[in-house]
């Protein structure tokens, strides 16, 4: 991957952070209103996405590139 020189638009910078933030909020709230079942599954899914995104870009993608 090479460092880009051109500045990105605000949309390009903030789309992913906003998507991950909204997913996190949905996950946190879904679990509050559930006791097992669909709500908990939705919560787990929504919270795992940001965790896996961090893991992927932070470490896993490098190994695949290698």
């Amino acid at each position: 991957m090479s460092e880009q020189q051109q500045e990105l638009s605000g949309k390009a910078i903030w789309t992913w952070p906003i998507v991950l933030g909204v997913l996190t909020l949905v996950g946190l709230i879904a679990a509050l209103f559930s006791d097992g079942g669909l709500g908990d599954m939705l919560a787990g899914l929504c919270l795992w996405v940001p965790a896996l995104v961090g893991l992927w870009y932070g470490w896993l993608r490098r190994y695949r590139a290698n």
């Binding site: 991957m1 903030w14 996190t24 946190l28 919560a43 787990g44 940001p50």
Partner: protein
């Protein structure tokens, strides 16, 4: 964003982070075992389970349980009596030298069907107790809690300033770019930004709810003053009702459940304790739905006559406190939630550690500074 503005926010980010980092690292490290406290208690034999018996086996009265608990520690009083959250056949009595708040307590765990003592685990010693105390108040009581609350506020300032800086710092990098081919410091700067932004909302919620939890004691005191002082006016200055003059405890619970039907018991606070008045058994009820089970409804039952004196609904600030607790602890959505909580906790440790590294590994000397200014303009803003 202008350079001057970036420098101002960088200053805010650097100092708000630096002041709270050591304490936040401590909270993340001690929080990790607390996420799995149920599992650890099972593994270490601290969890108590009732033996299997036929479904529908009747339970003994609360008066019998109270008598059994008192017989174990005749020199102590019962402050709280409550059923286990997962198994209503297992009951706990918290016993202390006096009704006043104290860390000196014994727990008697009883089988509600037979009245037998199942165990007397010590929750005030051992690894989990140390983790809990370090996490909640640094072994310093209310001042420790409030201090950690202030550190939590600084964390929130660090988060907000970090978000403000995220745009200028990543304006030339695709999302998730980690420049490994550059210096180690640039790599860790990118990892700091990446993990910081993916954990942003989670850490903000855990931080805000953590700060709210540090205010639990003052909020409960204010609640008593705000809502109960008028109700309790006739009993002001009177000593706690002597045990010999108290009516049936089972009668107190029954009266409370009649007053607010469709709810179940959370816990009973005895006369003179922090959650009651000198003259009442205060029965705290909770709802039956997943969300309402996190909220409580206190019912003040006259300890001498078992008449309900008041059942004021919890005010918004107490409800906020109660909803903050699961959002902070993360043990409210099953095992997957606990595990992801731990993963995000570790990610936060990396964000904190990398922030500290970026500050410590700040380029020294004029040559390195010049080079840094010419080639890494945005990097210098985060740590200068």
């Amino acid at each position: 964003m202008q350079n001057k503005t970036i420098k101002t926010w960088s200053w805010v980010h650097k100092w708000s982070s630096l002041v709270c980092t050591a304490f936040m690292l401590l909270l993340c490290l001690t929080g990790l075992p607390l996420i799995f406290h149920h599992e650890i208690e099972h593994l270490t034999g601290m969890a108590v389970e009732a033996p299997p018996m036929p479904e529908g086996t009747p339970r003994v009265s609360l008066d019998k349980l109270l008598m059994v608990a008192k017989a174990q520690h005749p020199d102590r009083v019962v402050q709280f009596l409550f059923p286990d959250e997962d198994d209503a056949n297992v009951w706990f009595a918290t016993m202390t030298p006096t009704p006043a708040p104290t860390d000196d307590f014994r727990s008697v765990v009883m089988d509600a069907r037979t009245g037998e003592v199942l165990a007397q685990p010590r929750y005030d010693e051992g690894f989990m107790y140390v983790m809990f105390k370090l996490h909640v108040d640094l072994f310093a009581g209310l001042p420790g809690m409030l201090f950690l609350g202030v550190m939590g506020l600084l964390l929130l300032v660090a988060i907000v300033s970090g978000v403000v800086l995220y745009g200028p710092f990543t304006r030339k990098l695709d999302f998730g770019t980690v420049r490994r081919e550059n210096s180690r410091r640039v790599k860790w700067l990118d990892l700091h930004n990446l993990l910081g932004i993916v954990t942003l909302v989670w850490l903000s919620v855990v931080g805000i709810t953590g700060v709210i939890n540090t205010l639990a004691d003052p909020l409960i005191k204010y609640w008593q003053y705000d809502q109960l002082s008028t109700v309790l006016q006739p009993y002001q200055g009177k000593p706690a009702v002597p045990e010999t003059e108290r009516a049936s405890l089972q009668g107190s619970l029954d009266a409370a459940l009649r007053q607010v039907p469709g709810m179940q018991l959370s816990f009973i606070a005895f006369p003179g304790t922090a959650y009651s008045s000198p003259h009442h058994n205060t029965v705290f009820l909770k709802g039956n739905e997943p969300f309402t089970s996190r909220l409580i409804q206190p019912v003040l039952v006259d300890a001498q006559t078992n008449e309900v004196t008041a059942a004021p609904p919890s005010p918004w600030y107490i409800n906020t406190l109660l909803v903050s607790q699961p959002l902070h602890f993360g043990d409210y959505g099953g095992r997957p939630m606990q595990i992801v909580w731990a993963v995000l906790d570790v990610a936060t440790i990396i964000v904190l550690g990398s922030g500290l590294y970026l500050w410590l590994a700040k380029p020294q000397g004029a040559t390195r500074r010049r080079r840094a200014q010419s080639t890494q303009a945005d990097e210098s803003a985060v740590v200068s």
